[in-house]
Symmetry: C2
Subunit: 250 residues, 2 copies
DNA sequence: GCAAATTTGTCCGTATGTATC
DNA sequence: AGATACATACGGACAAATTTG
């Protein structure tokens, strides 16, 4: 053990501690750049060569770092033009949950079921708040979407689903909690993508669906929290039903 | 307009439609590979050169695709050994929300506030379910963590927070909804990371905190849904308070 | 509408670091 | 400890896309 000198390589060759990959340092460097310059979504970032020089990494490493940040929607790239600060959406959550839903082999439907339950929890969680403070104009805004759904009927499935989506977005909007709205929207996306792959019909487009939504609006207008919660339960019931049926078919 | 032949370039030179980057095709290719082979988290994936040949792309494109999938925890890489199917966790959500919390310049605290509200919504949303079905043994499991918190006191902050975390994990566990548990855990992580940067103390470690948790356990044991909800509200009150104070300091 | 300039996308070859056996 | 297989990182070159003059 008593040797006259340390082995040749160890004590860090100076250039890099390198306990973590270089690309990760670049990721942190870009994050820090955005934060310390107080950039906003859409603001331009330095070009790839500029980042290479600033962070002391090759273009490959910088590009891989940018890919990571792009996947998180922290960075957005426009081919042939430049890189920018991303929108910081929850697109990564959608990607992640979608893949999980498509993969899970033991019980393909647990993910879907959980998803719906969380959405229902969000909407029922605001029952008291809705009857307490707000009411009239929110109901009017919701009514517009119900009318749109009724007009589209079974004829225009695309418009119907768009109105359905807007309805539920408007439902959680008054909470003033952006996170809930974005999570709810993300879950809707995942459901629409995954459900068809599991032979679950995504929507009925029928009169019952319209009636259920109408009932929710009426409950808001009547400021009846109990009825509101009950209407929501009945609204989600057929969805749970469809998932259960599809699960039984396997 | 009547010309004998179309312009030179258009109708796609055959080799690639290329409306989307090649790396994205590689991403989809790897996803498809995992799905069609029904791989599970931890299962090995082909090596980089193998993927290059199988998907007809260069190393750069394959590597960038792997970086994207790694950011989503769909793929996991072990340096010098191989690439594997990832754990499909919500780590991307944590990264994304954390950065958003650190960035948002107009109101640094909205993200934090929203976060706490969603967690509270999750836990209060299961009030009826707890009193209805389960009760005794769940309360026992929760009691263990409260005792741990009491023992740790203000002395061991690390143990205290670990017990606090476990308590809330156990609280939502009986729902049988993994998604809620993972979202709740993710929000906890984000809070712990972001709060210090905003001069918000993450925890009090005091007797009041312990007492509030004890009150929740007692409510579960007494099967009193109203008391349960009230106890939760009082538990989260100081957290809201701390955020409000920090917000006022700016 | 064309052409040039800028920027990102893709490829290849090579060298290095790291983990397993 | 050595050998092998693999991922990491670099540099240069050319292709594709977009804006601007």
């Amino acid at each position: 053990m008593a040797r006259e000198q340390a082995p040749v390589k160890p004590v860090a060759p100076e250039p890099r501690a390198a306990r973590q990959p270089l690309r990760q340092e670049v990721v942190d460097g870009i994050k820090t750049y955005i934060l310390s310059n107080k950039l906003r979504p859409g603001d331009p970032l330095p070009t790839e060569p500029a980042l290479c020089e600033a962070l002391g990494a090759s273009r490959s490493s910088v590009r891989e770092a940018i890919r990571i940040l792009t996947a998180l929607d922290i960075v957005e790239v426009r081919h042939g033009y430049g890189t920018y600060v991303g929108r910081l959406s929850l697109s990564a959550l959608v990607e992640s949950l979608t893949f999980r839903g498509l993969l899970s082999p033991d019980d393909d439907f647990q993910v879907m079921s959980d998803l719906i339950e969380v959405r229902e929890l969000f909407e029922r969680g605001m029952a008291e708040r809705l009857v307490g403070a707000l009411g009239g104009e929110e109901a009017d805004r919701l009514q517009v979407f119900v009318d749109t759904m009724r007009a589209a009927g079974a004829g225009d499935a695309h418009d119907f689903m768009a109105a359905d989506r807007s309805f539920h977005a408007q439902l959680v909007a008054p909470l003033g909690n952006d996170l809930i709205g974005q999570l709810s929207a993300a879950f809707w996306e995942v459901y629409v993508i995954v459900a068809p792959h599991l032979d679950v019909f995504t929507s009925e487009h029928g009169d019952t669906t319209v009636a259920n939504h109408q009932r929710i609006v009426d409950a808001v207008r009547a400021r009846d929290a109990g009825e509101f919660a009950a209407a929501l339960r009945d609204h989600y019931e057929p969805v749970r039903q469809r998932i259960a049926e599809a699960r039984a078919r396997r």
